[in-house]
Assembly symmetry: D4
Homo-oligomer: 249 residues x 8
Amino acid sequence: MNLDTLNKLLESVADGRTSVTAARDLLKDLSVEDIGYAHIDHHRALRKGFPEVIYGEGKTAGQIDGIMEKMAAQEDIILVTRLDAEKAGFLLERHPNAEYHADARILLMAPGEIPEIGKGTIAVISAGTSDIPVAREAYLTAHAMGNRVETIWDVGVAGIHRLFAHKAVIDQANVLIVVAGMEGALPSVVAGLVNRPVIGVPTSIGYGVSLGGMTALFAMLNSCSSNVAVVNIDNGFGAGYLAAMMNRE
Amino acid sequence: MNLDTLNKLLESVADGRTSVTAARDLLKDLSVEDIGYAHIDHHRALRKGFPEVIYGEGKTAGQIDGIMEKMAAQEDIILVTRLDAEKAGFLLERHPNAEYHADARILLMAPGEIPEIGKGTIAVISAGTSDIPVAREAYLTAHAMGNRVETIWDVGVAGIHRLFAHKAVIDQANVLIVVAGMEGALPSVVAGLVNRPVIGVPTSIGYGVSLGGMTALFAMLNSCSSNVAVVNIDNGFGAGYLAAMMNRE
Amino acid sequence: MNLDTLNKLLESVADGRTSVTAARDLLKDLSVEDIGYAHIDHHRALRKGFPEVIYGEGKTAGQIDGIMEKMAAQEDIILVTRLDAEKAGFLLERHPNAEYHADARILLMAPGEIPEIGKGTIAVISAGTSDIPVAREAYLTAHAMGNRVETIWDVGVAGIHRLFAHKAVIDQANVLIVVAGMEGALPSVVAGLVNRPVIGVPTSIGYGVSLGGMTALFAMLNSCSSNVAVVNIDNGFGAGYLAAMMNRE
Amino acid sequence: MNLDTLNKLLESVADGRTSVTAARDLLKDLSVEDIGYAHIDHHRALRKGFPEVIYGEGKTAGQIDGIMEKMAAQEDIILVTRLDAEKAGFLLERHPNAEYHADARILLMAPGEIPEIGKGTIAVISAGTSDIPVAREAYLTAHAMGNRVETIWDVGVAGIHRLFAHKAVIDQANVLIVVAGMEGALPSVVAGLVNRPVIGVPTSIGYGVSLGGMTALFAMLNSCSSNVAVVNIDNGFGAGYLAAMMNRE
Amino acid sequence: MNLDTLNKLLESVADGRTSVTAARDLLKDLSVEDIGYAHIDHHRALRKGFPEVIYGEGKTAGQIDGIMEKMAAQEDIILVTRLDAEKAGFLLERHPNAEYHADARILLMAPGEIPEIGKGTIAVISAGTSDIPVAREAYLTAHAMGNRVETIWDVGVAGIHRLFAHKAVIDQANVLIVVAGMEGALPSVVAGLVNRPVIGVPTSIGYGVSLGGMTALFAMLNSCSSNVAVVNIDNGFGAGYLAAMMNRE
Amino acid sequence: MNLDTLNKLLESVADGRTSVTAARDLLKDLSVEDIGYAHIDHHRALRKGFPEVIYGEGKTAGQIDGIMEKMAAQEDIILVTRLDAEKAGFLLERHPNAEYHADARILLMAPGEIPEIGKGTIAVISAGTSDIPVAREAYLTAHAMGNRVETIWDVGVAGIHRLFAHKAVIDQANVLIVVAGMEGALPSVVAGLVNRPVIGVPTSIGYGVSLGGMTALFAMLNSCSSNVAVVNIDNGFGAGYLAAMMNRE
Amino acid sequence: MNLDTLNKLLESVADGRTSVTAARDLLKDLSVEDIGYAHIDHHRALRKGFPEVIYGEGKTAGQIDGIMEKMAAQEDIILVTRLDAEKAGFLLERHPNAEYHADARILLMAPGEIPEIGKGTIAVISAGTSDIPVAREAYLTAHAMGNRVETIWDVGVAGIHRLFAHKAVIDQANVLIVVAGMEGALPSVVAGLVNRPVIGVPTSIGYGVSLGGMTALFAMLNSCSSNVAVVNIDNGFGAGYLAAMMNRE
Amino acid sequence: MNLDTLNKLLESVADGRTSVTAARDLLKDLSVEDIGYAHIDHHRALRKGFPEVIYGEGKTAGQIDGIMEKMAAQEDIILVTRLDAEKAGFLLERHPNAEYHADARILLMAPGEIPEIGKGTIAVISAGTSDIPVAREAYLTAHAMGNRVETIWDVGVAGIHRLFAHKAVIDQANVLIVVAGMEGALPSVVAGLVNRPVIGVPTSIGYGVSLGGMTALFAMLNSCSSNVAVVNIDNGFGAGYLAAMMNRE
């Protein structure tokens, strides 16, 4: 339930279309609903403008299903991240209108077209082909939150003319998400070209002293470009979420 | 030189107030000026809306002075960060209109009042008293870049009612900078309360397994609140800079 | 054999109900019994008030069974931790009165109801749904050692009002166990609310720079609340055991 | 202000000895007092039974003095930890009734004899002579909080008969604090002897792969004795504080 | 070929029992034999008193077989370490007189009884039941090299009376190997009791901050007992080998 | 397309053998071709003298196939590294003239004999048998790039006379690649013998504190011989590539 | 003594200009001269084409002086690295023809102009002004070894147009040394532009997770450009030495 | 007091030369003497054949003096390690017959010539000149414990012919101590040459990824020579002590 739907409910009570009892039942768990293994924070959409997102790892398919059912009573859009294919299969059977994106390991349940509410464009750029799954997680999250998103894949610094070929998209973006593994150098270069915030997403792509993404992470945190903020390794979701926050009016 | 001053110069040439020769001399190093030990990127203010910032560590006072002189010919505002008191003394003698902020180790040279250009308020919050120097670096940077900035000091999670006492400032901020050492928990709590981007700044305050700020950094990167982006340890400057980027129209 | 059963045995010898020979056979391995691959410390229940707990990892099912048989001759309660489902299956066939808790990977053999001997209540709190297995290990251990235990699941700091909804349970607890992965911030917040010892249990839940629980561990060790003690990552057992020690008269 | 002094104040108001105005002035900052660089949590003594402790590192002597003055209006006992000799000198001049313990870097201000309120004895044990400063910090903290404390110095595991010579003190303690650097083995051995909680305090004593205390810390967290909880490296204060919490009725 | 067999061969040539040609063929690869994927160091037994030991990990079964065949022409005893069961099955078919010890992952080929050449007894002590496989690797290596070896299993420091029950064996040993995971404290305690060299072998047994054996390793390197030398994690072979070197006349 | 083929194409246009249209089609994607999931850098062979090499890890077999097809239109030699056997099977069916080297996980497609263009010999030396796969990756890469390559396997420092037996090959090499795991000492020793550049390749062979090759890497970076440069752990490809660069006229 | 001077000496003996006795005295320590605290490797210049370089750190000024005196009898050029100003002062008094370069901490003793023997140009590029001291160490070493060296300072990736301004120098270099701290991204970008070997030198410039240069080091080792080899952090000397090796005929 | 002096005392009592009272006073603290800040383990010389060694770091000069006085009543030889020059000055004034070795930071008090009791020779070998102080600590310790010790300095692997020049000393040693920083390769090479135990001592000499000696330590623990045992970084004392243990009859 977001501010909009809350307003509509209260107006509906005011003009008698909804009974007080019915409204009370809808609102009684508004703050938080305790279902034993989880406290569902229905208040979150009011407070933060987007409902709680379900982190799929470490939860059983049954637990996720239980949370989805409770949320479905209140929210339009439900997003499950870090969901493996097996759990996704179970959930798709019970929520046939959901869509599973295997590359990004995201399950998205949304009512038709998602209205665009972001004020500008978000650009998602990946350094390598192998970084695409994380970049796609960022793309889908920002998209689900109502943003126009452009993507540019495989433009790492070893052949820097590939990046410059996309200068137009880069220049007009309001927020940029740059996804890179290995030496994680791309966010520095991109951020040096623009005057907008750049969100660096290190990936675990690489071997040896890529250290599961630590090297890319640390490189981005040490960026000599000052307009780079960083999220956790492989955290495409967080980058998409943050970009949506920055792209609000 | 920013877009505004470039426009004015060209208009001045157009109506004859400035000779072509004089303008050429002003513009000839616009892209980049090579003074041996440094390439000064005069183009940066045009490209990024704010002139190059001088990182004081590892440069001699003489080198900083040389860079400042070249920049002063083109820019209104000059910012030197990570400047120790000794070098600051040397520079203040040669640039008497600059101001040195010893706690934040920042030297700021600005022509009177800095005009406010940010669209909203930036809140800077510190978890402890010992984190204030880093928080001040963020404050001064965002301020120098033309933003209204509010500050709240010493509201760490061990007495969480202290934080809630400042809920009004927190709720109305457009961007929030949260500075914390030790366990670095404050950004998660603050981000859980708002629907705006939060920039976490880990500090090196602590001992033992605070690991010089690594623990706070990693904690912030693992925040269970999704709207937290992170910068390097003790990087108050970067946080202020990024916040300014996000607070632009 | 604990102090109580030792007293009873000696009284039984004193009034002739038990022969000296029978008592000697029972007592001869009291200190420690060497069965080749293990020294069973029967003295432990006398010394520490609770019999040795069998750590299941790295032992074969046969070795565990052998130790259980020797212990069963002397002890009422037997606890096996870190036991995978396969070994548990083997052991349940041979010890049908035992109970296996798959989520907590604990096998518990106890004679009916366990008498309550703790002086107050122990509260076990988990930050996330994914942390429940570790929290359950703590719960079962404290329960097996004769304590009243209350549980609160999924009240992490990203929506801190969820925690405050349980203030009554938190306030009345004599010892608190707080289980959290990711940034590990919950113990600091809880400890700030109470004047009782809080045992922080970091979990390996998270990814990237959660570093398998190291970040949560270090965050807890750096807690700005002073009444937090910490155990090893995922060590729910140790937390339950320590809480029982603290909850004794 | 603790529960006791609050009761007395209210009784004094009730029977007219104190005016409402005077009481209001005393109580108006009870929750938290904002003095710019610090939020003083006067509520803490009510909530936690002991007033806020001032962490001296990273604060200027002037800041500490300011906080002490505000606290002195409300509290009997003031404790400053991690205070170097220079700042201590400044503070002793302004608070002549305080006492500075140079080895433990603690400044303690207390009105005469501190009444004993702990229910049993706390034992503080150090592995080596070089660990004594940290052990003394634990001792002074527990003492300041009203506990009977016994100490045993220099009984490390390389000559384990030294430890056994003190078995009587060890056996009768209600809580044990064991301070050790290098391989950090002593807490495991001590905890194996008793059925009470043991707080392990790793110290930074050692060289090479003692890693500034990390090895001792990790060893203690891996203790094969289950009744060991651990605090941060060199955190004698935290150990003393926790022990006091555990030693309350 | 060791000194003894070399002597015999030369005597046999001297008195005409062996032809020069035959001897030359036996000796021509004495220094080193290059078989493409390996240089077999036949000179080693002469130089070091024991033939090359084959490290099984990272070699194919075929490569190990090829090396064994070349060595069998010159050596009595062949030892293959870190050999998994599958490769062992392949090799046992081709070398039926070899024996595979699955717990220690060692394959040993020896002609009947191995003569005892060590001057005293080697004691191998394990802290826990789970450490036995590594301890067995040490035992088998020292045994294969001609030493009398005594073993004591599961006498960790959490119940230190278990260790003292074996004081006689400990006191009479010429060299001691102490195998321990988790906090790795046992070598320090044992070394404090004796005046002989102690070889500490850290194992990867444990979880969380046992860090795959790093904690035990570092603890042993920081031992406050000076007569502890250390080998790599899980390196039972190295410990057995070194002990044999120390136990020579 | 390299300089040679570009010259030929232009000559062919000049004398009318190739139409302008046909040449334009061949050249239009010369700089970079965007196929959605990848930007193929056809310009690379012109710029760097060798076409782009496909890094197989993290790409699907389909993606690799798509890239190979586009490249085949322009290049003679195609190299795919870090390719597992399953993907290789898929690709071999579609590119039957390619050859898969399972030990080195390399797929090489080359038109018959590769002409030798290097000015001297490259020597590839491995410390152990288990290091051969990485050494083979280096060998195949340098070979594919047109170099004469000599190999010496299994000459680690524990029997240093094995190395000296190959002094002739070592002395005459123009560039040396030395591959070693465990303590990574061999590059130092080899580099001490020659006056040519030595490329050290650490491998992940070892256990315990070999730390997946970090120890060998760090050892090589600390080499007391100054003519050692280092590449990432297990990066045989990079070593072969670099050696080819150094071996050019 | 190098090949050239050895030839001349022998010719001088052959035609009677030098007595056998005098030659013998000059040659008797040719292989190695033991002066107690050091073995001077006079053979090195013969073997490696350049005399031993004295690493100044950890040696007393007296020890360095002693080594210099022995070397001066045999060599033209003496290089001392990592020499602090105090020791340099002592040595300059005793070797007045030496020159001390304070920024690079190098003392160089050479007889007038050093003849150029390298076959091409070596380019030394630094990412920042603060990296210049390390870059200067590389420059001076390569220069002392007889190479033409070009330098480009302060062209980091945050303003990448600064780098492109120097494309001519970059394109014509035979070997490139790229010196960078912080995120260490510059070698990747430079290496992507050329077909020559690039030696990356990470510096300890930076703070927080620059980790004393580890981040730059790891980033360079993970370079997505294949023609990057890496030396130890701040090892300008090694880079210069290696570049000289690569630049030989 | 060692076995010898104890025998003499008891004989003296037996034949009436010493009164029972006098002997009792001498023997009453034999096990352990508690002087407040230290438990002096007089029993150690009986148990371990050498009196307790005083670790100077972290103890005040006064504490060391106090321990020395108590020990002097019972022991002939007193060794203080890790003693800085300032404390040594204080102690030399009060114990004029002691000798301070500044390079090794050792204070040794011994009655004239120390009798040789070791059965063979101990060789101490250093890789570099900068490693000599640690090597000297090993030398002095082994010497103080009654061993013949040979030393070879500065024979690192970059010029391996320097090592081979000392093959005679190496071959005849009973135990070898090899001291090396940087890549720590020397122990592997030496151990490959002999059939005796080699004690590797990593030093903190080096920079960058020498990581304060960790790289040398890990390299030695990964030695491909099996007869290498390792002690802590810079622990020359431990190596000398262990070598003495191994060199006993």
